[in-house]
Assembly symmetry: C2
Homo-oligomer: 214 residues x 2
């Protein structure tokens, strides 16, 4: 069977889309080849010509989504690393880029995000990507592994929080503000007055043009 | 069978310990009741008098560890919430307490940490506990869910990084410093000069008595 014909590829896509449709309705454990075939209006025989099992379908989705993701981010890396970018611009390019990507591919992302098997763990792959990017950015930092994982986990917490939610106009400030409070508490700054002082310090650093209330 | 006799409880413990011993050597999937019985020097019959299956053993370990953990932390909460605690003291009590707890119960922690089933997800339980504690601490914050999850994920990244590792004397500064760098990058502060400036600002805030070299 020639895997490069348009009709073969079209059928691949039909099966992937059927899988995504089902996985938004039922958990991965309950998905069967029969259900995929039903939704795709194909026979189980046709399914098995294209894929070995449902795991292979999910892995393909993960791989394609990951390839799209890295291409999307890598295009922005030179701009992200430019020393002239302000904090807000930098942050927009990185964190907001991940959110935009998840939003753009919401069906695929939601479908793959929930699946955790030995070969499928999309959020772990993205975390590794973000951690590696951090490491290549600050190769001389002393505690590189820990720093990189902390950063990657923060970015992923954000993505998981916003996945499938409507992005509001003041979302950027909401996110920055949450990062700041969580961090200040994590390093032990918990006393009301000092917390507020340090919070304002950072909000002014990131949004120098805005006058801030509380 | 009276579950409150010393001999019944002792056998429970023998089985739990056998499970922990095995789970440090092989993945949960490969653990069988036969293996647990072999290591505990008991018959499979005796095992089934005490537990339904290996899942029940793992759940018991999770529950006991979680109870110990919450008792351990809750004892410290009044001191943690005292406004007079310095940043370093506060942080010692919270993050370092979690690390000390994992270290003290290292066998149990390492054993349960690796298991993820529908009913067993120890790191998720600890995260929920930390997030809830954050929420009760700052009930009036606007983006409480996101802040609390960011904080809980930072603390857990730390624990996962250090689990089973020897704690070094300057670990505290290592951790604080990693938190600061990861956070600064996360909010978009990436330019060398500003990064260093803000880093020093925080290190001086947390360790006011020490003179800091970069």
């Amino acid at each position: 069977m020639d895997k490069n014909t348009a009709s073969y590829k079209r059928m691949d896509k039909t099966i992937l889309n059927a899988f995504i449709e089902i996985s938004q309705q039922i958990p991965f454990e309950n998905i069967t080849v029969q259900k995929i075939a039903d939704v795709a209006y194909i026979s189980r025989y046709t399914f098995y010509v294209h894929f070995h099992d449902k795991y292979e379908v999910a892995e393909r989705i993960q791989d394609e989504l990951y390839r799209e993701f890295t291409q999307f981010i890598q295009k922005q890396i030179p701009a992200i690393h430019a020393a002239t970018a302000t904090a807000e611009e930098h942050w927009q390019m990185m964190d907001i880029a991940i959110l935009r990507f998840s939003q753009k591919h919401i069906g695929w992302t939601q479908s793959i995000w929930k699946i955790h098997t030995e070969t499928i763990d999309f959020s772990k792959r993205i975390k590794t990507f973000l951690a590696d990017n951090y490491k290549s950015r600050f190769p001389d930092h002393e505690n590189l592994d820990l720093e990189a994982m902390l950063y990657a986990n923060m970015a992923m917490t954000l993505t998981e929080h916003y996945i499938g939610k409507i992005h509001t106009p003041n979302m950027n400030q909401t996110i920055t503000s949450s990062y700041i409070y969580a961090f200040l508490y994590a390093i032990g700054i918990h006393e009301e007055h000092l917390l507020k002082k340090e919070y304002n310090h950072f909000m002014q650093l990131i949004y120098p043009e805005t006058s801030l209330s509380s």
